[in-house]
């Protein structure tokens, strides 16, 4: 039996989003620690809400 070496947990297809994204509806995302640094990775996509 073939051994499973890798399990994919998430596959968000970032490169594809280069063609489909950039609607600009997402929130601004200040990364300054003096506010709550909203790193872009913490953000939700408005079009997927």
């Amino acid at each position: 039996m073939k051994k499973e070496h890798i399990i994919t947990i998430a596959a968000p297809a970032l490169q594809q989003s280069k063609k489909t994204g950039a609607c600009g509806n997402c929130q601004a995302s200040c990364q300054s620690a003096c506010k709550t640094s909203c790193t872009v990775g913490n953000q939700a996509c408005e079009s997927k809400k």
Partner: protein, 446 residues
């Protein structure tokens, strides 16, 4: 298959071995042998003839090749920066009060006055800012306005008037405002709370954790602690709504900051954030490179504590672990980062525009005024070009599509250029992201 540190990132969490494919964003779990093979390939220049002994090397190679064919491993990025909508203003940070009723030692705003006179923003300037934002928001329906300071509640009557005016004007134009505010809580009352709730103003409440930690860095002007003054107000506020964040700063003095995050939870708060202090190298509270090992351990401990609470049905919403592995932002957004100086500006009480609140008061970064609009198009161009593809360190970094290239103000402060990120900030960011990815995987696995 050529594995390099800018294309894949391996995270070893004991029994959990994680592979992040940087360009596709795919996240995989690996078995021990595959992890060992990839680890070796990264350091031996991809020499498949010089690998640790594994039972099924052919099977591992096939599995990797299959993922590559599916675009889930070693995905290729064309490194072309996608230009989105041009000249669209998304957000204004309103420095409504260059004044503060606390004397926090680490304050980037020179205890509230930003190095200048203590002053409040007049209502008329606030209303002009509403008009300016609506006018320049293009086809965007949502306009974001953040009330900041100093301490914005010192300008509370003005804030209320601007909110009411903004709502009415946005309504008239078929748009909507999303207001936010960051406060130190000293002037938070039930009446303020009711207004914030009624107008759905997202609120960030500053609190540094345990009483002794908070009081050390956030005293009043008479050098008394502010913890006892604000904690009951925050508790009442948090009980009245879900949309709030308790936000703290950790410094060299509380490297055991996981205890402070857990302290928030113990006091009844659910939405939590804890940030590393940014301060001059000479300051005693500033983080230093030798603190990093302890900081790493704290994020590991915090991740385990978070998971323990999650498993017991007591979810703690720690903001920086909220990474959506499946449905995060698109790549153009990740490349753009915060948008400071391009789609986001800060406004001084006098009506002067700066790339963001961190640059307020620095004449060389003043881009224009509400009256004149943006005059320094050269600066806007500089900020717009300060994206990941133009930053050599970011191009080589695995975390680039999560952090968006880091904070421009920190880069400029520590390296005098927007194109070189602040190194210690990057190290902490990467550690925090590793912990976040691990936490999200463990939540998925149940």
């Amino acid at each position: 298959m050529q594995f390099t540190e800018d294309k894949i990132h391996l995270i070893d969490k004991g029994e959990i071995k994680i592979l992040l494919d940087v360009n596709s964003g795919a996240v995989h779990l690996l078995d021990e042998e595959t992890f060992a093979v990839l680890q070796t390939l990264l350091v031996n220049g991809n020499n498949w003839d010089n690998l640790p002994a594994v039972a099924d090397l052919a099977g591992i190679r096939d599995s990797l090749a299959e993922l590559q064919a599916q675009g889930l491993l070693l995905a290729v990025d064309d490194e072309i920066f996608p230009r989105g909508k041009q000249n669209v203003l998304k957000a204004l940070c309103m420095n409504v009060a260059h004044d503060c009723n606390l004397n926090c030692h680490y304050c980037f705003a020179s205890q509230g006055d930003f190095g200048g006179e203590r002053k409040l923003m007049p209502v008329e300037v606030g209303k002009q800012a509403v008009d300016f934002l609506l006018k320049h928001s293009g086809s965007r329906t949502l306009c974001e306005m953040d009330f900041f300071g100093g301490e914005p509640l010192m300008a509370w009557p003005m804030v209320q008037e601007v909110v009411l005016y903004g709502e009415a004007e946005a309504d008239r134009l078929g748009k909507k405002f999303h207001f936010t505010m960051t406060t130190n809580g000293v002037l938070l009352t039930t009446a303020v709370q009711n207004f914030l709730n009624q107008h759905e103003i997202s609120t960030v409440l500053s609190l540094d954790g345990r009483k002794e930690v908070h009081d050390r860095m956030r005293p009043t002007w008479t050098d008394a602690g502010s913890y006892d003054l604000i904690l009951p107000k925050y508790q009442e506020f948090a009980a009245s709504r879900d949309d709030y964040v308790i936000r703290g700063t950790y410094t060299h003095f509380n490297l055991d900051f996981a205890a402070d995050v857990l302290h928030y939870f113990k006091e009844g708060f659910k939405n939590l954030s804890m940030e590393p202090v940014i301060g001059p190298v000479s300051a005693d509270f500033s983080l230093r490179p030798e603190d990093f090992a302890t900081i790493e351990q704290e994020y590991d401990q915090l991740a385990e504590a978070y998971l323990e609470l999650y498993r017991s049905g007591n979810e703690m919403n720690f903001f920086h672990f909220n990474v959506d592995l499946d449905h995060g932002p698109c790549l153009p957004k990740r490349l753009t980062g915060c948008g400071a100086g391009v789609e986001y500006f800060a406004l001084s009480p006098e009506g002067d525009l700066y790339p963001c609140h961190q640059f307020v008061g620095r004449e060389e970064f003043k881009v224009g005024t509400l009256a004149t609009g943006i005059e320094r198009t050269d600066l806007v161009q500089q900020f717009s070009e300060a994206h990941i593809y133009n930053k050599p360190l970011c191009k080589a970094c695995w975390a680039r599509f999560f952090c968006g290239g880091g904070c421009h103000a920190n880069a400029e402060e520590f390296n005098q250029t927007l194109l070189t990120p602040y190194e210690l900030g990057c190290r902490i960011q990467k550690k925090r992201l590793e912990a976040a990815i691990y936490v999200q995987i463990m939540k998925k696995l149940g």
